[in-house]
Amino acid sequence: FPVAPEKEKEDMQFAKKYLENFYDFKEEKTLFKAKDLNQMSDKIREMQSFFGLEVNGELNPKTLDMMKQPRCGTPDVRS
């Protein structure tokens, strides 16, 4: 079924927090929404590659499900 808009927003927030915690994603407070989404897609690709998921930069159910697994709080990637 299509994801309800508020659920989609919620998932996006969750994913952003996850990527900040574990993949060194830094959301830039820029006006250019597109740039932000591209950077986030890059980080999603990095996370998908780490866990052996299909690497497409999309926040699909499998990727979200992996993000919601109980895990260690130490980052997977760090600067």
Binding site: N21, G52, R71, C72, G73, D76, R78, S79
Partner: protein, 404 residues
């Protein structure tokens, strides 16, 4: 596997840890056991040794906390992040934090998170490992419930930690040559008493594989430690224990793990204080006390608690004299006498072993008191001594107790 940027590691082999607080989800003794076992996972594949401190600053400080707990990584309530740890270094370096909002357990059910598994992972970070993307590796970032009874590190974890610290040191015991499989031999007749033969030198030939299950009647068999326990006699070697019972004719052969899962294998010494139903196990500079299957809380403790000087890093053997209530500790060619009633070392020690134990003039691997005599084990021989008469009575093969 991966390391942290700049590969931080501990620049020493003796690393200390301290448990700062406990989760109300588990018995303190179970928390201590889980943490001790988690350290053993890493000490068994590296030269590292871990000593628990009970005060002051330790290298690795272990604590339970919820939400914001003083560092930049607040916990997030139940689920999600379970714990985190910092790479080796000063201050917060090496510390491991566990989210108190989780349900911690010593089991591997799905009603909570197994503290041993999570702690073993976090301590990997405390030693310098970052995450692995190998599914099934301990350092994989996502929690996976699994059977912890015979827990084995994934090869990826071993490769990772040994890239930082190398493999364990050769075991202090002399490597023994491999033996072709042979029929159990007739027990060698008791030799005429002579001085202990000098410690056998390792001979050529491929060393036996470490921790291969030794053959009960191998004439070259030697032991790490021997103790009585509630009327039985236990013989320890590497991760194995032979159990000789007055109630059964045959010898039971088990793994130490099957009796005490959280105890480190490869003891140096062990002895029983029969009137306290207590057995003490020694490894390196620490000791544990057990009563039957249960490990007393608050262990391991440093052997200095018994009165050893810091120069003593490990003991070779120990035996309790049920008549005098003294325990004799053997280190090199000397021995100490410990008064179990006053719980203190006796004055005038250490003394030379040869001065008081006739014919025993080399290091002792293990010691036992049985039927009024003392038995001192050195390599594949044991020396039966009557200490009242200060007389060496006979020499036998170490495994003469196994009715080979």
């Amino acid at each position: 596997y991966s390391a942290f940027p700049h590969r931080p590691t501990w620049r020493k082999e003796d690393v200390t840890y301290r448990i700062l607080n406990y989760t109300p989800d588990m018995l303190q003794a179970d928390v201590e056991e889980a943490i001790a076992r988690a350290f053993q996972v890493w000490s068994s594949v590296t030269p590292l040794r871990f000593t628990r401190l009970y005060g002051g600053q330790a290298d690795i400080m272990i604590s339970f906390a919820a939400g914001f707990h003083g560092d930049f990584y607040s916990f997030d309530g139940p689920g999600g992040t379970l714990a985190h740890a910092y790479p080796p270094g000063g201050g917060i370096g090496g510390d491991a934090h566990f989210d108190e909002d989780e349900n911690w357990t010593k089991f591997t059910t799905y009603s909570g998170y197994n503290l041993f598994l999570v702690a073993a992972h976090e301590l990997g970070h405390s030693l310098g490992l970052s995450h692995s993307n190998v599914f099934g590796a301990l350092m994989y970032p996502i929690y996976m419930a699994r059977d912890t009874r015979n827990f084995q590190l994934h090869q990826d974890d071993i490769d990772g930690i040994q890239a930082l610290y190398g493999p364990p040191r050769e075991s202090p015991a002399l490597p023994t040559k491999a033996f072709p499989p042979q029929e159990p031999t007739e027990m060698a007749p008791a030799e005429t008493p002579t001085e202990m033969s000098p410690r056998e030198e390792p001979t050529e030939g491929t060393p036996s594989k470490p921790h291969q299950r030794p053959d009960d009647c191998d004439p070259h068999l030697s032991f790490d430690a021997i103790t009585t326990l509630r009327g039985e006699t236990l013989f320890f070697k590497d991760s194995y224990v032979w159990r000789k019972s007055p109630y059964f004719s045959d010898i039971e052969h088990d793994t130490i793990f099957s009796f005490w899962p959280s105890l480190i294998a490869g003891f140096d010494a062990a002895y029983e204080v029969d009137n306290k139903d207590r057995v003490l196990f020694f490894k390196d500079n620490q000791y544990w006390a057990v009563s039957g299957y249960s490990i007393e809380s608050g262990f391991p403790k440093p052997i200095q608690n018994l009165g050893f000087p810091t120069s003593v890093r490990k003991i070779d053997a120990a035996v309790h004299d049920q008549n005098t209530k003294r325990t004799y500790f053997f280190v090199g060619n000397k021995y100490w006498s410990f008064n179990e009633n006053t719980q203190s070392m006796e004055r005038g020690y250490p003394r030379k072993i040869a001065a008081d134990f006739q014919g025993i003039s080399h290091p002792v691997d293990a010691a036992l008191q049985k039927n009024g005599y003392f038995y001192f084990f050195h390599g594949s021989n044991q020396y039966e001594v009557d200490i009242k008469k200060k007389k060496l009575i006979r020499i036998m093969k170490s495994n003469s107790w196994f009715n080979c």
